[in-house]
Amino acid sequence: MLEVRGLSVRYDSVIAALEGIDFAASEGRIVALLGPNGAGKSTLLKAVAGMLPFEQGEISAGRVEFGGVSLKGKHPAAITRAGIALVQDGRQCFRNLTVGENLRAASFRHAEGSAERLELVLSYFPILGEFYERPAGFLSGGQLQMLVIGMALMLQPRLLLLDEPSLGLSPVMVQSVFAIVERLHEELGMSVIVAEQTVPRLMEIADDVYVLSRGQVALHAPPQAISEDDLQRLYLS
């Protein structure tokens, strides 16, 4: 459903962050996007979600297609409407607004059915219901991660992009985040791309693994075919 061919991305017209990436995520799959710091994971997700122009980045070559339709040059608003939701790194939400307002803000793009979706989100993350009237800035890291995933769900995506959701979370929290990803995939049939540095748990639920290194695809294989040693080698190179 997502097709990336020969994608190159530059920042500030000079810094090459991605060089000729081929990447695909098919319907109903969980794809792991691995790689060390600065490999280009976030850049790839931003390119798909249309966020690059707002960070002095641009697609200098290649194609990005979702369901056969090109996403190049589209505004993030149009891309969310097409069915892609990006959960950015750093748990980007509206910290001065209440949890409820955060979720409401995420439902403008798909107003119809938003009441049902809110119920769904609150059933996945009961804690958000408990803190509904509180400013999001008061939430802990793990609760914020649930909020931003909840906000992405309000956008009613068919493809969910998660950028380092486990960063800075306790091991227990990491487990529950991935449990949620698995449930979204199984219960809602959602396709998910998860960018992470290293997470054994992610390898267990992923259908397909890409490892990026210095802006290129260093390895593409099913998770069973990738050993701990392979990863070590790629990360150190």
Binding site: M51, A77, V87, Q88, F94, A105, F108
Partner: protein, 304 residues
């Protein structure tokens, strides 16, 4: 009694400062740009109202049409001049707003000349008396209109979907984009609303003090107001506007005459000039020394 009289008059003028300052805060919140042209928008709005009334429109209609025209001017200046500067540093955009101020002044100079203009009566002559305090209809109307507009605007910002999008944009642009909000449209909306607020404020001020190019200097009074209010707080701007209006009125009515009386008794000096014009900046300096984040501001939160 006299001091109460001054306070009431000060509140009326202060409420007008408040609506002009609200616009600056609105734009600053969602784009980080301090709009130095706000006084220019106020002046332009007053000239529009003047032109429309002299063309024969009743004052209510003139105010409404001028309000709408100012919305158009705000939207146009943002889209034509500032939107192309999307990637420019914020400081460059602020310089552009100074340019807008100069252009507005030049246009008004060309059309209406440099002299003070007798502003048409927007409100009937006469005054009301409550408990010994007199207020002309002019002041009553200025106070009521700005109070209603302030209230309506704050309610819009707090309770409507569009207000929520404004607050999202102000809070975190990256997150706003990711949930599908067109951030640049929100900035245009902020400019539109801000120009309308300024235009009405300018018309009301002109109805109190008369109209000339000098009205654009009101922008300089608005800055102490927003700093006092904490830059990003809309209610803060309102309260600070009221405080400043009252301080100016009391200075003008009590402090200046008192100082001048003392000076006259002991020296050859007869006047201390327009002391009330110095008050905003004196207050600004004091606030910046004691509480740099303003009365209502919080410490600068992380900006992404």
């Amino acid at each position: 009694m006299f001091i109460l009289q001054l306070i009431v008059a000060g509140l009326a003028v202060g409420s007008v400062y408040a609506i002009i300052a609200l616009g600056i805060v609105l734009i600053y919140k969602c784009s980080g740009v301090v709009n130095f042209a706000q006084g220019g928008y106020a002046m332009l709005g007053a000239f529009f109202t003047y032109a429309l009334t002299t063309a024969g429109l009743p004052s209510a209609a003139a105010l409404v049409v001028s309000l709408l025209l100012m919305g158009v001017v705000g939207a146009l200046t943002q889209t034509l001049i500032l939107r192309p500067m999307l990637k420019a540093p914020v400081v460059a955009v602020m310089m552009a707003t100074l340019g807008i101020l100069i252009i507005f002044r030049a246009i008004c100079l060309l059309i209406w000349g440099p002299d003070q203009i007798g502003f048409p009566k927007l409100f009937p002559d006469g005054s009301i008396e409550v408990g010994g305090i007199f207020m002309t209809y002019n002041y009553v109307a200025a106070f009521l209109l700005s109070a209603v507009l302030c209230g309506a605007f704050l309610a819009f910002y707090r309770y409507t979907p569009l207000g929520l999008m404004q607050r999202c944009t102000a809070d975190n642009t990256r997150a706003a984009l990711a949930v599908g909000i067109h951030v640049s449209n929100q900035v245009t909306i902020a400019w539109t609303a801000s120009a309308m607020l300024a235009g009405l404020g300018g018309s009301l001020l002109a109805s109190l003090n008369g109209l000339s190019l000098g009205l654009s200097n009101i922008g300089l009074v608005a800055f102490p107001v927003i700093v006092l209010g904490g830059m990003t707080s809309l209610p803060g701007a309102v309260v600070a506007g009221l405080i400043l209006g009252v301080l100016q009125a009391v200075t003008d009515g009590l402090l200046t005459p008192a100082i001048e009386r003392v000076l006259r008794d002991y020296t050859e000096i007869y006047s201390v000039g327009a002391l009330q014009q110095v008050i905003p900046y004196a207050l600004l300096v004091v606030v910046l020394l004691v509480r740099p984040q303003g009365i209502f501001g919080s410490k600068e939160s992380e900006r992404v």
